[in-house]
Every structure is written in structure tokens, then in C-alpha cells.
């Protein structure tokens, strides 16, 4: 039974014709309101995750719960269908349970707050935001245990609950939440910062209603959704061929589950039937026994698709839920993208990021000119915690950055983010507030794949630990490569090395928990580069030389472009010769260059290349499936 909405005013809204200019004004006003929500949040939050890295996402929806402005699509409709209780003026709902909101948030760290906005006794809109809390309890600091087998190990689960009722904070519930985190001060401040943002949206919505009248406001939101639907409908028709016989297919992998098994495949098939684009994830691997499962919210996936394509056509189109009927996302239950409760989810970040690569490969096949290479499709985590010499608890959660891929528009930026709004944490900040010394923060030469447009380089961060403690890491792409396209080569994989104070070195796996560290130990965290785009032999020689002079490509690395240089000048004759030889040797270039023939071949060379044994083929509840 859906939630009961308590309205004191039973008058239905009247759909009125909205002048197109008024419509544009409402659209701008809501867009501004969303920007204001961000501004308030970032200024008042305390955790570096939200404050510096901006791991939080606001939105405003219409009274039916359809997102009108925002980024990740609306989960509100699903919430309203599933919530067993009333929705009243003065309520604010809190949940972090992926399984009770269809994956709107995908791990327990994300606290999702939803506020119905009432006007004159009627529900007129929703504002909502989720933000990543540094810690929500569970077995490890940061609440993201790699080795979790059930979600119960990952922290306190909050089913959708009224954290505010009648405008009053439910302090007893809130105290329970704070009592179950290692960082109560941060959570409290971040929580209040989100509330402040939601209230600001509420004020803006009410101002709009005062200005235009409630029927015009409600109708304008409908029109905004409709307008988006028309625009996206045109794009879908233009972009996706009709008929299952013209379907395109693509797949990619997550390397391992942190338990020695992998890789895990995600696969998708895309075709169009009439107006509707169909994404079918049949062929993806079943869910994992470990924590790399990703509960993919269908609405969120539609938003990824919309964002990807809209940026290529009219970036001024407002993202909203309007086009959702035009996309049909089919994910088989029990697969790694739709695991069944209580599967663990905390390490889902890689699968979430890999969706970008998957989508790029899928959509780009029909239009190779618009095809991007694989990039830094992840937000790997570094966690460091312990008690300092004065007995004070410290706990850091940090996201890594890497190479944006080579794209039709140009080279991929080095060491950047592919997530909206994310920024890195300044190293001076880290040194001032944590027992850390950052020895190096630099791009890794040659880590970006060679191409006509070079893939962005990954980053080398050298963390020197100043206190004894524990580090945990979630990373990926240590085995498979960020692929290149249209003749471009793959980028370099990720690596991590721990240099102990006594000089010994340890190869650190991509996913690990609670590695003990001592003062003076240095962790080299090397992220991966983006794949290259287009034929590297056609990259202008002066661009290759400039990259060499800038230290982004080495003298040896320039040979991947067929360029012979000593670092200051180019030997043009030798270059011409080398390019001709390489061109003859390689033959015709493929659309995708994954850097390996098949998984068996890749695994066979894993130990030699990475220092780690190849992961075992995953066992899916006793049912052995070939890893290919």
C-alpha cells in the first residue's frame, strides 16, 4: 500500500496553459534554487568528503515525486509507493537503506533526506539530497568493509523514517544514529547542513508559488518534464537504431571481489522499439558473495544515459525525469547489478563507475566519432584511521582521481574527476589536520593511453603515515585495462606499493581492509590513466614533443606514438621510418583495444605483470560459469 499523503486542502490542481516565457522563468528559478542548495551545504558541512570533495547531491521534484532539477533522477515515486505511513507537512524522511529505496542510495554511508513541501495544505513539491557520511558504524572505520558478506556488517541500517515530524527533530532516533558512528560530530554537522539546504529549497518553491500561483507552478513543472521528453525523444530516435536485429552490445568487468575471485562481468544490450530505448543487462554475472555488488537504480541509469547524450546535443536542456518513459531498463534480479538482500554493497563504487565505461562503449559503437575511450570510471577509496599519540581518534576517507579518457573533443585531462562536482582534498589541508605527510602528488607519465587524443594520466600520491594505524583501500582496474578506441591504446593500470620504514616494499592489493601501518611507512597510491582516442601515429609530432617537455610522456613513451625524440628535438626521419614500420606491423586498428585477447590469456600473465596471482573464476552459488 502506498504512503498516505495527508492534505488539509482537497482542491485538485488545475492544469493551466503556461506561457513559454513564464515556463523558462520557473525553470531558471528552480535551477538557481538547486545551485543555492549546493552552496549552503558546502559551506556548513564538516566532513572533508562533503566539504572538500562534494560527495552530496541535491534535487527538487514535483508533487508526484518526479525530479524537475537535479542529477541522479528521482527515487521519490518509488519511496511514495513503498512507504507504509503518512506523509505530512513538517515531515522529513531519512533512509540509508539501498534495499528499501530501490538503490536510490547504493550503500549505507549515503544518508538520503527527503522533504515534502506543502503549500496551503497541499503537497506541491519535494526536495531531497543525499550525502556521504564518513562513518555509519559497522565492522571497519569508514563503514566500507571489503570482506563483508552481508549488509549488516556495513553499519547501521536506517529504513525510511521520519527524522522530523511536525517540524520537530526526532532526537531520540537521531541520538541512536550518532551513537553508532565513529564520527558523530561530522555526521551531525553534515546532517544539519543537508537539512538547511532542503529548507532553502522549500522557501524557493513557496516564493515561486507566490509569484506565479500554484496552478501555474505545478503546470510549469509538468511542462518542463514534457519539454525534456520531447527533446530526449528526438535524440533517442536519432541515436539508437530501431529493432533488436540492430542491437548493440558491450561488456566490461570489475577485476575482483577482494576475496580472490574475479573478474565479474557486466553486459548490456541496447536497441529501440518505437520511441523507447531498451537497455537489457541480461548476460551480467550473478551477484557476488562479497561486497562489490551494486544495486543499480533504474532511474539513475536513465539519468546517466540522458546526461551522456544531452551533453552532446543541447547542454542547456535541463535534466529531469520527463523522458523516463522513453527508456526501459531491464536488470535481471539476482545479478550483480540487482543483488538480493542481504547481499553486501559497501564496495559498490567500482561497479557504479564502470557503468560509465559500459555506457560509452555501448552508445559509441553506432557513432565512432562520438565514442569516448574508457576513463577513470571509479572513485577509489583510501581510508586511514587510528589513535594518535595523545589518544585522539583520527579517521580519513579520501577519494582518488585519475585520467579522463581521450575523447572526440580532445585529450583527457590528467588526474581529474569524471563525477560531477567532485574536487580533491588539498594536501596542505591533509597535512594540517591528519597525521600524514604527502611526499608526492604528481601525474604518472605515460599512464594515459596513446592516441590521436591522449588519455589523461593517473596520479601518484605518496602518503607518509605519521602515526601507527590502519589503512583500507578500495580500488580496481589492476587487472583489466582502461581500453582505448578508434586505434587508441589502453591506459596503464592501477598499482599500490607500501614502502616500510625499514626499506622493505609490499605490493598492496586493490581491495584490502585494516592493513597495519607504522610511522614512516609510505604508501604509493597510483591511479590509472584514461584510454587513448584515435590513431597515435597520427598525433602531431609537436604535440607529442610538448607532452615530453611537460613530463607527461617520457622519451621512451613517445615511441608509442612512433616519435623519436631526445626530449628537446624530434628526429623527423627516424620518426617517419618508425611510424611506417609500426603502421605496417599492426595492420588494421580495431574499434576497441582492451589490451588483452581473452580473460584466460590475461590471467595467465597476471602474476608476471602485477605481482598478484590471477583471481579465481567466480563461483556463483555453486554454479560455475565460464569467466568469459
Amino acid at each position: 500500500m502506498p504512503a498516505k499523503i495527508i492534505q488539509t486542502n482537497a482542491t485538485p490542481f488545475t492544469r493551466v496553459k503556461v506561457d513559454p516565457i513564464t515556463l523558462d522563468i520557473v525553470e531558471n528559478a528552480l535551477r538557481n534554487a538547486r545551485a543555492e542548495m549546493d552552496a549552503v551545504l558546502f559551506r556548513t558541512a564538516m566532513s572533508p568528503g562533503i566539504r572538500e570533495q562534494h560527495d552530496a547531491f541535491p534535487m527538487i521534484a514535483n508533487q508526484e515525486g518526479k525530479m524537475v532539477v537535479g542529477q541522479f533522477g528521482s527515487f521519490l515515486y518509488g519511496f511514495m509507493q513503498g512507504y507504509q505511513g503518512t506523509i505530512e507537512d513538517g515531515d522529513i524522511f531519512l533512509t540509508n537503506d539501498p534495499y528499501s529505496c530501490g538503490g536510490a542510495v547504493s550503500h549505507l554511508n549515503d544518508w538520503l533526506l527527503m522533504m515534502p513541501i506543502f503549500h496551503d495544505g497541499r503537497l506541491v513539491s519535494w526536495s531531497a539530497m543525499f550525502g556521504h557520511m564518513t562513518d555509519v558504524g559497522g565492522k571497519v572505520p569508514g563503514s566500507l568493509p571489503t570482506d563483508a558478506k552481508m549488509i549488516y556488517e556495513e553499519g547501521l541500517i536506517i529504513p525510511p523514517s521520519k527524522i522530523y515530524k511536525n517540524g520537530q527533530l526526532n532526537e531520540e532516533l537521531f541520538n541512536i544514529l550518532l551513537a553508532n558512528t565513529r564520527m558523530p560530530e561530522w555526521n551531525k554537522s553534515d546532517f544539519l547542513a543537508i537539512i538547511a539546504s532542503l529548507r532553502l529549497a522549500e522557501r524557493r518553491v513557496r516564493e515561486n508559488i507566490q509569484r506565479f500561483g500554484v496552478d501555474t507552478y505545478i503546470s510549469a513543472m509538468h511542462d518542463m518534464l514534457d519539454r525534456n521528453k520531447v527533446a530526449m525523444g528526438a535524440i533517442i530516435k536519432l541515436f539508437i537504431p530501431e529493432g533488436k536485429d540492430k542491437a548493440s552490445q558491450f561488456h566490461d568487468w570489475i577485476d575482483d571481489d577482494g576475496q580472490g575471485n574475479g573478474p565479474f562481468k557486466i553486459a548490456c544490450t541496447l536497441w529501440r522499439e518505437g520511441d523507447v530505448a531498451i537497455f537489457d543487462f541480461n548476460g551480467s554475472d550473478p551477484q557476488s558473495l562479497s561486497s562489490i555488488n551494486f544495486l543499480l537504480n533504474e532511474e539513475m541509469f536513465k539519468m546517466f544515459f540522458g546526461a551522456f547524450t544531452i551533453n552532446l546535443f543541447d547542454p542547456q536542456i535541463l535534466f529531469n525525469d520527463g523522458f523516463y518513459d522513453l527508456v526501459d531498463v531491464r536488470i535481471p534480479a539476482g545479478c550483480i547489478l540487482k543483488p538480493k538482500k542481504p547481499a553486501a554493497l559497501s564496495c559498490r563504487t567500482h561497479m557504479l563507475g564502470r557503468i560509465f565505461d559500459l555506457m560509452g562503449g555501448l552508445l559509441g559503437q553506432g557513432a565512432p566519432d562520438a565514442l569516448n575511450a574508457a576513463g577513470f570510471s571509479d572513485s577509489p577509496h583510501f581510508m586511514y584511521s587510528g589513535f594518535d599519540k595523545e589518544g585522539k581518534w583520527f579517521q580519513l576517507f579520501q577519494i582518488g582521481f585519475g585520467g579522463v579518457p581521450g575523447r572526440p573533443v580532445g585529450d583527457g585531462p590528467d588526474g581529474h574527476s569524471m563525477w560531477p562536482a567532485f574536487t580533491n582534498v588539498p594536501n596542505e589541508f591533509l597535512e594540517a589536520y591528519f597525521p600524514l605527510r604527502i611526499r608526492t602528488y604528481a601525474t604518472i607519465p605515460d599512464s594515459g593511453g596513446a592516441g590521436l587524443h591522449r588519455g589523461g594520466n593517473g596520479i601518484n600520491i605518496a602518503y607518509e603515515m605519521l602515526e601507527a594505524g590502519e589503512i583500507s583501500i578500495h580500488d580496481d582496474r589492476w587487472l583489466t585495462y582502461p581500453w582505448g578506441v578508434n586505434g587508441g591504446e589502453p591506459g596503464l593500470r592501477s598499482t599500490k606499493t607500501l614502502v616500510r620504514k625499514n626499506g622493505s616494499t609490499e605490493n598492496i592489493p586493490s581491495k584490502c581492509d585494516r592493513v597495519q601501518v607504522q610511522p614512516g611507512d609510505i604508501l604509493h597510491f597510483n591511479t590509472w590513466g584514461g584510454g587513448g582516442w584515435g590513431d597515435p601515429l597520427k598525433r602531431p609530432v609537436e604535440k607529442v614533443l610538448a607532452d615530453v617537455e611537460r613530463g607527461l610522456v617520457t622519451v621512451a613513451g613517445a615511441r608509442r606514438y612512433g616519435v623519436v625524440t631526445d626530449g628537446t628535438t624530434v628526429d623527423q626521419r627516424a620518426t617517419d621510418k618508425l611510424r611506417a614500420e609500426m603502421d605496417a606491423r599492426r595492420g588494421k586498428t580495431a574499434l576497441f583495444d582492451r589490451g588483452f585477447e581473452n580473460l584466460r590469456e590475461l590471467k595467465a600473465r597476471a602474476k608476471k605483470e602485477t605481482g598478484f596471482d590471477a583471481p579465481k573464476d567466480p563461483q556463483f552459488f555453486g554454479q560455475r560459469i565460464a569467466a568469459e
Binding site: I21, D24, N28, R31, N32, A35, E36, D38, A39, V40, F42, R43, T44, M46, R51, E52, Q71, S189, L192, A196, L200, N228, V230, A231, F308, N311, F313, D314, P315, I317, G375, F401, V404, V409, P413, D414, G415, H416, S417, P420, F422, T423, N424, P426, N427, E428, E431, A432, Y433, R437, T440, Y441, A442, T443, I459, A462, A546, R550, G551, L552
Partner: protein, 738 residues
């Protein structure tokens, strides 16, 4: 003409992006024990104040001058064409003209105050110096990686190309050295290796050098040493160190700021030195001062050394001018709205003071230098209207027709509809309006351009034009919100002042949108910046980084430090000719909840501090935090910085005499016209501003023209000329429109 029209040709259009960066502009100062001290650049006057002051604003079209006689409070103004090849020619022409009108000799002028856009232009046109950069070993890529931020939201990376850093990577070297976050040296400087690398840099042909070492905000021990070696290796190359330019935490922001300083330095230094030389030749021993982005004044020398502080010098002049007008007209709270051809600057003045922020942005360059909190939106008279096929929505901007070809109505080859064309179609900008100079307005061309939009929308010509104006007003309304509502202010408590070439055309409509009354049209909306330049008060400040929780310090300790700072700032101002008896002192305390990245600045008088102490500061902070963000915390309070600001007294100046007239304004009517508003045509009159007298009432709809601007009074509104010549527009029947 607003200076921004000439300056800001590129900008980030989306407010979302502006705001997404807010988090990073806030200062997070040094934790721990370290306390550094910085003193604002000193202003040294060569003559006692009290002589003749000249304010000069150089715009793209006109150079405006204002002459103030502090002895008798008189004011003169002059306007001459600008000379873009060498602006000093225009300035000297103007000086000659204004001196002739005032009946004085140029040598009688003791001070020239100048707001300049040369630093901004250098960034916008990419015409700065080739900058070499020295970083700490391991941090060569600081500018390349930046903050890893990709603009444009979800999927924005697909189309975003990053511009090259202003100091190129091939011109960046690493110094082998390291200090920690407390300033302790961990690795000594390898001087031999550095010397070798510096020589290489020199031979590569760099024109300016930036030294920005890791943790350099805590201690300049290594930066100073590197600078000394650089002076030996490359004596002719100007060197900027991050510790001197911006001793604040965050390596990327500090490095970027210092590099920008180096980037604009040779151009600014040449400009200022040249102007100073020309002025001295003509006027003798005159004291040239440059307006800083934060509205303060800088000596010519300080301007040449730290030009990064001048990036907003132009807009700061406008806000200062608005302040001066507001004071004379008796308004303490106002929103300023400076609309030019390609962009619009807005700012908020509360209780007679403009809000400042610790960040300056020009195009995609963001530096940590204090500036008046001016928000720029990419919407102006030249913004282009279009209708994308896909959505059939009406969009205005961010593309602009610029000066060339300009709006269609200007008959310079433009054929796409702009905001100006919409104003022409609606009759707001009549064909006989003067645009300053010989520009004419052709309504037929505007009609042709706007008709295309009307056809695409399926609307009438007039409704399409009104739509274009409504959309652009909405964009600007968003910017006004950012400086008001978002900061916790209610725009209904503020008046709005519109200036710049297009400000007075849109001011009335904006006041209506955000309910800020009256809508003020100042006399000579185009010369407002020069007023601001001339009327800026002498000011000095001394500050200190002091990071500690309030529990760990005492009123005595903090009070003692504040008194020392005040004493030092005050002594410097005394040296500049302002006796202590004429000085006003204010304390500013930067404070936050421990753990937060931002901070708020609490202003208190010395008396208030003596009464309330730190507890009073913390209480004010809680209140302001609650006002801004709807909540306060019970977390510990952390002091971040202390500052004493000392200012000279304000001098009253008397404006032109506007004569007392009755309510009847018909004597100023030039002729009848028609304007389109609210979906229909209205009969209206065009007024000649120079013939209006105080007390006159102009009932809308009406157009008021003067030399360089045209004002629109909407139907249902009335403009009342006040005693200092402003037109105050109110809704007809408003209780204050007596």
C-alpha cells in the same frame, strides 16, 4: 558604458558553477601555534590630504573623470573619448578638460585615484607574461591537476577541455626542500641544483617567476632563499613568492594566485609606471593611487608589485560610486546592478559597507585575493537570444554579440536578436536615444532580428521581445539572489541602484521582481565608477593569523593582539597624513566552528569588544550562522584570524545643484512616444534628464535619456527626483512615494 562590457568577454554562464566553487573560496587558515602577520600595502601620500582629488575611470568607449575639492566640497565631472592604444592619452585629455572647466591648473591636483581594468584585460586576452614556476619536489603538477574538478555536471567531462596552466609545465621546476605544516624544515634547500635549474628556466625565455613551495603559507624561509638566488640568476625578472602574495593554506589556490600575479605583473607595471610618468610630467609631484578589488586603495608601487589585487579594480569603482551616491541620498542598504554589453555585475551593500569575499574570479581564472563580493552573470545588452530546435525554449545568452558586430540595431553588421534589440522593439530604447558618440539606433534592423525569434516561438514580435527582456531579467534576478537571499538578506530591505550603460533600462523591472524599492537611477550612470574612485576613503589594515579554540585563549590575549594591530595600522595611516583624531578603528575577527572549512568575519568596534569579549564574538557568530544557514551548532568555536581596520574620516562633497522644482515634470518632456509593456502598447513621454529638477515626478510609462544612458519607468510606477539628482522609482501609490 560599464567597464565590464569591455572587460569580461568570457565568463561562466551558469550560476550553478559559480556556486559549486564557493566551498573552495573560504579561507582555511593555519591550525596550531603558528601566527603570521601581514600588513596591507602601505599608501604613502607625498602631500597632506585636503587638496584636490581626481577620480579616473577608463572604459572601452569613454574615460570619465571626477574632480573633488575637499576644501570647499565642490565636484566637477568630465567625459572624453577613451584611447585604447594608450589609455594615458585619454586620461591626460580628460585632465586638461576638467581643469579648464574647474578653472584650476593640473599641478593643483594632489591625488589621482584610478580604477583600472588593465589586469583583467590581460587575463581575458591571454596577453600576460611567460611565467616560470618553482614548486616543491613532488608538486610540479599542482596547476596541471588543480582541484581535479570538471565543470558541467553529470557527463560534463565529455565536452570539457582544460585550458593550459598560466605557468606552463615545461616552465616549471622543482626545488628539493621540504617544510612541514608547522613551519619546521624537514629537508634543507638544495641550492646547487636549484641554481642550475633556474638558469635553464632563464634560458627558456621566461618573463616573470613565481615561487610557490609546499606549506609555504606557514614560513617563507625557503621561498625567500629561492627568491634571493633567482635575483642573482635572473636579475631582470620580476619574482613573486606565494608567501608574500597570499600566505594561506591550499597549495593549488595559493600557487594559482601567485602565478596570476606574475602573469599580469609586467603589463600592469608598464601601464602604471607609464601613467605615473605622464602624470608627473603634466602635474608635478602628484600621488597616483590605484583602486584595489576590495575597494581599498593601493600605492602605485604596491599595485605594480601585487597586481593580482587589481583584478576587480573596475567593478570595485562602480560599487564604491554606488556607495557614495547611496550615502548622499540617505540609503544604507542597497543592491548594486551594473549592466553592460556582455555581462552584469551585482553586489550588496549593507549598512553602508559592501560585502567582500576572499576570492576574485575572471573568466576561468580564480584567485584568492580579497575583492568586493561582485557576482557576474553572462547577461547584458549584447546577449543573444535564440530558440534551440530541440526544446523550442527561448534562451538568452551566454553568447554575446559583443561590440562588433553588436546588436542588430547598431547597424554594424549584427543580424541576430540581442537584449538591446528587444529593448528597441519595445520602445524602451528610442531611436533618438544618445548612446554617447555618433552611434545611431535603427529600429527596422532590430525588428528584423527579433522577428526571427518571434517566428520560431510562434508569437507576436512584441511578445517575443518582451520575453527576451523577461528572461534576461530573470537571469540577473538569480545573481541578485545570490548576493542577497542566499547570504540571508531579504531584498525587500534593500534599494536597488542600476548603472552602467543598460542598468537604468532594467532596474525598474528588477526591483519589481525582487521587491527592492526604490529603484535608483543615479545621475550620470556612466560616470559612477569615477565617483567611486575619487571618493574612496584612505584606509589601512593589519592582520594576523591566529588559530585557536576560544577555550584556549582569553579576552586579554586577543584584546592585546587587536590593540597592537590597530596601533600599527593607525601609525601607518598617520604617516600618510591622517591624524589619529580623524581615524576610525574597527576590529574584524574570523571565526568558525572547529572542523568547518569556512569562516565568518565578525565586525566589532573596540568598545564592543571591550564589553563583550570573545564570548560576545562567539554569540554574534552563532546568530549569523543561524541567519545564513538556519542552524547553529553546540560545537567549539575556533578563532582563525584577527584584523584591525583603520580608516580616515569621510569627507562630505556637494553634488551639482539640481534646483528645487515642483511635482510637474512637463518642462523636461522632449516628445511623445510609445512603449510596449505587459502585453500592450502604451503612450509615453521621453524626458531630458538635464532639465529635471528635484521634486519632479515622472509617471510611467516614461523614458528618461541623458548623455550615456537611458532609463525606463514602467507603467504603474513613478520616478521622483531627489535633492541630489537621483531618480527614485517607486510603485505608484507606494507609502514612501509621498
Amino acid at each position: 558604458m560599464s567597464k565590464t562590457e569591455d572587460l569580461i568577454r568570457t565568463y561562466e554562464a551558469r550560476l550553478a558553477e559559480i556556486e559549486a566553487r564557493l566551498a573552495r573560496v573560504e579561507t582555511a587558515a593555519v591550525p596550531g601555534q603558528y601566527a603570521g602577520t601581514t600588513v596591507a600595502p602601505r599608501v604613502r601620500s607625498l602631500r597632506p590630504t585636503g587638496g584636490l582629488r581626481l577620480g579616473v575611470d577608463v572604459g572601452g568607449t569613454f574615460t570619465d573623470l571626477i574632480l573633488l575639492d575637499a576644501a570647499n566640497g565642490k565636484v566637477w565631472s568630465a567625459k572624453v573619448p577613451s584611447t585604447p592604444q594608450d589609455s594615458s592619452i585619454g586620461v591626460l585629455n580628460g585632465i586638461e578638460k576638467i581643469c579648464r572647466e574647474a578653472g584650476i591648473k593640473p599641478s593643483e591636483i594632489s591625488e589621482v585615484m584610478h580604477g583600472t581594468t588593465v589586469a583583467t584585460n590581460t587575463v581575458l586576452t591571454g596577453s600576460g607574461a611567460r611565467v616560470g614556476l618553482v614548486t616543491t619536489k613532488g608538486y610540479r603538477d599542482t596547476l596541471q591537476i588543480a582541484r581535479s574538478y570538471v565543470p558541467g555536471g553529470l557527463g560534463g567531462w565529455v565536452i570539457w577541455n582544460k585550458s593550459l596552466p598560466l605557468a606552463r609545465l615545461e616552465d616549471t621546476i622543482e626545488a628539493d626542500e621540504r617544510i612541514d605544516s608547522k613551519g619546521k624544515v624537514l629537508v634543507g634547500l638544495d641550492e646547487a641544483a636549484l641554481r642550475k635549474d633556474l638558469k635553464k628556466l632563464r634560458d627558456r625565455g621566461i618573463e616573470a617567476l613565481t615561487i610557490s613551495l609546499f606549506n609555504g603559507y606557514v614560513s617563507d624561509i625557503h621561498e625567500a632563499r629561492v627568491a634571493k638566488i633567482a635575483a642573482e640568476v635572473m636579475p631582470d625578472i620580476p619574482v613573486s613568492t606565494s608567501h608574500a602574495v597570499m600566505p594561506e593554506m591550499y597549495e593549488y589556490e595559493r600557487t594559482e594566485t601567485t602565478v596570476v600575479n606574475s602573469y599580469v605583473r609586467p603589463v600592469v607595471a608598464k601601464y602604471v609606471a607609464n601613467l605615473q610618468r605622464e602624470l608627473k610630467a603634466k602635474m608635478g609631484d602628484v600621488n597616483l593611487q590605484i583602486l584595489r578589488s576590495d575597494g581599498g586603495l593601493s600605492s602605485a608601487q604596491a599595485a605594480m608589485d601585487q597586481p593580482v589585487n587589481l583584478l576587480m579594480s573596475g567593478p570595485a569603482g562602480g560599487v564604491s560610486g554606488a556607495l557614495w551616491i547611496a550615502k548622499n541620498a540617505g540609503f544604507k542598504n542597497l543592491l548594486t546592478f551594473d549592466m553592460g554589453g556582455t555581462s552584469t555585475d551585482v553586489a550588496l551593500i549593507e549598512n553602508g559597507t559592501a560585502r567582500t569575499r576572499r576570492e576574485t574570479r575572471v573568466a576561468d581564472v580564480t584567485v584568492r585575493a580579497p575583492s568586493i563580493d561582485v557576482r557576474t552573470v553572462g547577461a547584458g545588452g549584447g546577449s543573444i537570444a535564440y530558440v534551440p530546435d530541440l526544446t523550442k525554449a527561448l534562451r538568452v545568452g551566454p553568447k554575446s554579440a559583443g561590440a562588433v558586430p553588436g546588436p542588430a540595431a547598431y547597424d554594424r553588421g549584427g543580424d541576430v536578436a540581442t537584449v538591446t534589440d528587444a529593448n528597441v522593439v519595445l520602445g524602451y530604447l528610442p531611436s533618438d536615444a544618445k548612446l554617447g558618440g555618433d552611434m545611431t539606433i535603427r529600429r527596422d534592423l532590430a525588428v528584423r532580428a527579433v522577428q526571427k525569434i518571434a517566428d520560431a516561438l510562434g508569437k507576436s514580435l512584441e511578445d517575443a521581445a518582451e520575453g527576451i527582456v523577461a528572461i534576461v531579467n530573470e537571469n540577473m534576478c538569480g545573481a541578485l539572489r545570490l548576493v542577497s537571499v542566499e547570504q540571508g538578506y531579504d531584498p525587500r530591505d534593500f534599494a536597488l541602484i542600476g548603472f552602467g550603460g543598460a542598468g537604468p533600462l532594467h532596474g525598474n523591472a528588477l526591483s519589481k521582481l525582487i521587491n527592492s524599492w526604490p529603484s535608483i537611477v543615479p545621475p550620470g550612470p556612466g560616470v559612477l565608477c569615477a565617483y567611486g574612485d575619487a571618493t574612496t576613503r584612505l584606509r589601512n589594515e593589519a592582520s594576523k593569523t591566529f588559530v585557536t579554540t576560544t577555550a584556549n585563549t582569553s579576552d586579554r590575549e586577543v584584546g592585546g593582539m587587536l590593540r597592537d594591530l590597530a596601533d600599527r595600522a593607525s601609525g601607518d595611516l598617520e604617516d600618510e597624513g591622517v591624524p589619529r583624531s580623524e581615524q576610525e578603528t574597527m576590529y574584524q575577527i574570523d571565526i568558525r566552528y572547529q572542523g568547518q572549512g569556512m569562516k565568518l568575519t565578525i565586525d566589532v568596534t573596540p568598545d564592543e569588544f571591550n564589553r563583550g569579549g570573545i564570548a560576545g564574538i562567539a554569540h554574534s557568530f552563532d546568530r549569523e550562522h543561524e541567519q545564513l544557514f538556519t542552524f547553529a551548532l553546540d560545537a567549539a568555536h575556533e578563532l582563525v584570524g584577527l584584523r584591525a581596520v583603520v580608516q580616515g574620516q569621510e569627507k562630505p562633497f556637494i553634488g551639482r545643484d539640481y534646483g528645487q522644482g515642483g511635482q510637474d515634470s512637463s518642462a523636461a518632456v522632449m516628445h511623445a512616444t510609445r512603449v510596449y509593456a505587459d502585453g500592450k502598447w502604451h503612450d509615453a513621454n521621453i524626458y531630458d534628464r538635464s532639465k529635471l529638477k528635484s521634486g519632479n515626478r515622472i509617471h510611467g510609462p516614461a523614458i528618461v535619456t541623458e548623455m550615456d544612458a537611458t532609463a525606463l519607468i514602467l507603467p504603474g510606477h513613478v520616478g521622483i527626483v531627489d535633492k541630489v539628482g537621483n531618480i527614485l522609482i517607486w510603485p505608484e501609490g507606494h507609502e514612501k512615494a509621498r
